[in-house]
Symmetry: C2
Subunit: 212 residues, 2 copies
């Protein structure tokens, strides 16, 4: 299987904001996940993506590519970060199980000496790097066979339980802004939003996926 | 200022996966934020968006619209959730300060009785709702004047400190996968990734923005 059959639409670059190699890598990961799970892109709230990326490191652009090819978007609540610091993601689709796709070390080593990264390590932003250098590294990605790029592990028993949704909301009794019930707190007997409650950001409520 | 001057490109709907009113609402929020801060869309890593949305409630689609109009994307690390459960976001641009935009209660009340939500509350996914109903509610959004839609608060002194990035990575000494240094841990004297360390998901390292 060659990646050359994959067409990256121009709008994916427009969405992302610049041309770089990692958005296309993510686009391929997402496309392969759809193929492996035997599903179409997610019009609504079907596929969930657990990205192993975190903060403060490069290559996160991959996640925009995954969203562009799968429509399992952050906005729809279909993508979250596991904060493992790896160029990898697990894709889960109801009743289909999961698949984990990770960018091979060897391919990362192949890309590393490319001139693109010399610029990046000097703090030069992607859009400021000469077009021909960016196109060259994108072509290296798009011309690579899939098995040079990725380790792919099918996870048929993988389970993920999305949070149960609710439309219920009420006005914060202090600032008056509508707040969904899950995030209302109580202060002096009044139902208030988190900022009006004076809670610190560290008290944010996280709901972790239930897999081990 | 009318929102009618805003053109929502077709690719934004293709990215999002379906037509609904909240992606366009987010698209407008992002467009207005760019105007108010006097900046262009973010090709690289310029504008940060602190979305007040959380999990388990509707209207998150707004965030895909914000990403589409600003290119301040989740993949590039430019968008995160504050988990306040509000249809609101603060936009921060280096040396320009911030602006907070919140969807007015009154406009939320105006939309609430629309047939679109009757379907949604029955658990019917957006793409399954008749096209004319979806177009009607989108038109209500796009025909509304900006001051009917949003409360806009300029925050000239707003500060946000992005995490300092690093390219440093190493192979996990157990599974062998490349891991960015921030996420390497130590187990029995070996540098290992978080899953190989056996750490629980609840131990994820979060870096909170430094504003109060």
């Amino acid at each position: 299987m060659s990646t050359q059959k994959f067409q990256i639409p121009e709008w994916a670059y427009e969405f992302h904001g610049h041309k770089c190699p990692f958005m296309p890598i993510g686009f391929l990961m997402g496309t392969i996940a759809l193929e492996k799970l035997g599903v179409e892109k997610s019009q609504n709230h079907e596929m969930h993506v657990l990205s192993e990326m975190g903060v403060g490191h490069p290559q996160g652009c991959m996640q925009d590519g995954i969203m562009a090819s799968t429509s399992a978007t952050f906005g729809k609540g279909m993508m979250e970060k596991l904060h493992y610091g790896k160029v990898a993601a697990t894709f889960w689709y109801p009743r289909k199980g999961g698949v984990r796709i990770v960018l091979k070390n060897k391919f990362q080593d192949k890309l590393a000496p490319h001139e693109f990264f010399k610029y990046r390590k000097q703090g030069i932003e992607p859009s400021e790097i000469p077009d021909n250098i960016r196109q060259d590294i994108i072509d290296i990605v798009l011309n690579a066979p899939v098995d040079e790029l990725f380790n792919i592990t099918m996870l048929p028993g993988f389970e993920y339980k999305p949070v149960k949704g609710s439309f219920a909301k009420a006005k914060c009794e202090e600032c008056g802004e509508y707040t969904f019930e899950r995030y209302l707190r109580v202060k002096d007997g009044k139902k208030v939003c988190i900022p009006c409650a004076g809670h610190e950001l560290g008290e944010k409520v996280f709901y972790y996926p239930s897999f081990k």
